[in-house]
């Protein structure tokens, strides 16, 4: 058998279903790969060897009993450490949740288990998903497998790096402002943010509740679609879950793979096709547009004038919601407690716990959100940001009257060296310049590898209307069929 860790999820599932390899053998191969390379990559915060092998044995037993297996049965999946996993450490990349073992599974993880996938471990991330480089993890950074001196993107750098390092064929991320797509772009992998409400937030540790969206990460578009189909769909436990089935993203990906985009209208966002991105990123983007045109797509420019206000609006809305959501970390019900000496008051213990448990970026955002929501500033900041959100939604609505999907680079720059942006928080925020508008609108978007710049991966972002997730998969798969996938140097 050739190296199973180099295979796509589709290939691995076929091996298991056909009996050429057991789920245990597949899982062990990935555990061995993690043991061999993760000291250099640091994609994982926790490897659940025992749980993964037990899940794999269960798949093998079901196959032996002749039970029908799902399309991803026996395939290992790495889970971002922001999703609760029963009995398995879940930290959200924060010291405040060190050693916390949740008493329940998130809906996403429940669905992964029900589908027969093998959750193999929890991946590193910026603390509470606040960041764009995974440098804000309380447990140390993750290194980009393309160049270990550079960031893997964020906040879900661990999930993307695990894929690029062949430690897992599938991974789960969460996207609040680009945390799935941006790591996908800078690691040469595929990352999809589903329609908001299309995937359940139950058991997703909340950062910004009106934006947070769990989603699939993979090395190919078809694999991402298969994972999307497994985890998506209505969940009565999430009040913002949309009571509709997931569009047929798998069929769309397979249709796109034939490389024919005749009749598909693509809109280039004028505001995202010029300034603000590195020349190498823009060159790769222009090449992608040419490729998509050759595949039959009609390409037009579309102006979205309010997109320029998306970044400032996001950095008011997300911190505001985070300041409220993170109030639950008070040293009472779970996680860390500092200073409880019998003398200090509850309030003092709370303040000490939060000061020692949260890192600097989380504190910055909590205080920024507290400021934006405070009396006297609310209308000028948070209230105004919510109005901008309306205008951005109108831009999208108008654009989708003219085109089927919008395209842009996923990120303004390729993976940057460690430490080059941590000194200036706003410079770090610019990493999400192109991904944020979609989160404010609520629609789906995917990043697919489209080329290299200075030997590092560049991603193309494809944005679709809400609940039209299938459209972005078709275009992404078509591009992938033309440009192929990108392999990082051997570790």
């Amino acid at each position: 058998m050739s190296d199973v860790t180099r295979m796509t999820a589709t290939e691995v599932a076929a091996l298991v279903a056909g009996g050429q390899a057991s789920a245990v053998e597949v899982t062990q191969a990935h555990l061995d790969r993690i043991a061999a390379v993760d000291d250099r990559v640091h994609a994982f915060l926790h490897v659940d060897t025992e749980g993964a092998l037990a899940a794999a044995r269960d798949v093998d037993a079901r196959r032996a009993a002749g039970e029908p297996l799902g399309p991803l049965a026996g395939v290992p999946v790495a889970v971002k450490d922001v999703l609760t996993t029963k009995g398995v450490p879940t930290t959200a990349g924060s010291k405040i949740l060190e050693n916390w073992r949740p008493p329940y599974d998130s809906t996403i993880v429940s669905r992964l288990r029900a589908a027969g996938t093998v959750p193999i471990g929890k991946t590193n991330m910026d603390e509470f998903a606040m960041g764009s480089s995974t440098e804000y993890s309380a447990y140390g950074p993750t290194n980009n497998p393309w160049d270990l001196t550079r960031i893997p993107g964020g906040s879900g750098g661990g999930s993307a790096a695990a894929l690029a390092a062949y430690e897992a064929p599938l991974a789960i991320g969460s996207d609040t402002g680009g945390s799935i797509r941006q790591p996908g772009a800078v690691t040469g992998t595929v990352g999809a943010k589903p329609t908001y409400g299309g995937t359940s937030r139950y058991g997703l540790i909340a950062f910004s509740s009106s934006l947070d969206t769990p989603g699939p990460c993979a090395r190919t578009v078809e694999d991402a679609a298969l994972l999307h189909a497994v985890i998506g769909g209505h969940d009565p436990r999430d009040s913002t879950s949309i009571p509709q089935p997931v569009p047929d993203v798998v069929a769309a990906a397979r249709l796109g793979a034939n490389g024919d985009l005749t009749g598909v209208r693509l809109g280039i966002v004028t505001e995202f096709s010029g300034e603000g991105a590195e020349p190498g990123v823009l060159a790769a983007f222009r090449d992608s547009v040419e490729t998509l045109t050759k595949l039959g797509a009609e390409v037009v420019e579309v102006s979205c004038p309010n997109f320029q206000y998306a970044l400032p609006a996001y950095y008011l809305i997300a911190p505001s919601e985070c300041s409220s959501n993170l109030a639950r970390f008070d040293g009472v019900r779970f996680g860390l407690r500092v200073g409880d000496d019998g003398v200090k008051s509850l309030e003092e213990v709370m303040s000490l716990t939060r000061d020692q448990g949260f890192g600097p970026e989380v504190k910055r955002r909590i205080m920024l959100g507290t400021y934006a929501l405070s009396s006297g500033y609310y209308d000028a900041y948070y209230g105004q940001a919510q109005k901008v959100r309306t205008l951005i939604t109108r831009d999208f609505t108008a654009a989708f009257e003219q085109v089927d999907v919008l395209i842009s680079p996923t990120t303004p720059f390729v993976a940057f060296p460690f430490g080059s942006r941590t000194g200036d928080p706003y410079q770090m925020y610019l990493a999400d310049l192109f991904t944020i508008p979609t989160n404010l609108y609520g629609g789906p978007a995917i990043s697919v590898p489209c080329g290299l710049s200075e030997g590092l991966p560049v991603g193309l972002q494809i944005m679709a209307p809400t609940m039209a997730d299938d459209r972005m998969y078709r275009v992404a798969a078509a591009l992938e069929s033309a440009v192929g996938t990108f392999t990082p140097p051997a570790l």
Binding site: W100, P102, P103, Y104, Y196, G197, S210, P236, S239, T240, I242, Y309, P312, A313, Y315, L316, G331, V332, R333, F334, G335, L336, R337, D340, G342, S345, L346, E347, E348, V349, M350, S351, R354, D355, P360, K363, R364, I366, M367, L368, T370, Y371, A380, Y381, Q384, A385, Q386, K387, V388, R389, T390, T393, D424, P425, Y426, Y429, L440, G442, G443, T466
Partner: protein, 99 residues
Amino acid sequence: MAAISREEVAHLARLSRLAVTEEELETFAGQLDVILQSVARVGEVTAADIPPTSHSVPLTNVLREDVVVPCLTPAEALSGAPDVEEQRFRVPRILDEEA
């Protein structure tokens, strides 16, 4: 003019229940000032007659039938607590000695 003063940051830290150090206050004041001056651009948009958007999906109350369903046991619910007493979350003192 600075958008935010060091004293305001200290006040925000108190509101946020964050026992930040003097040194942190200095750092945060400078950083928050830069961020606030950047995000203040949202004020450039004339949006007096624009309705705000809080969520991309309409918010509704989601209710289920009032029937007993399995839930966490007390032991499970308390399993991650830093301190437990008599099947409850034990908290530091809330009242002053003289209260």
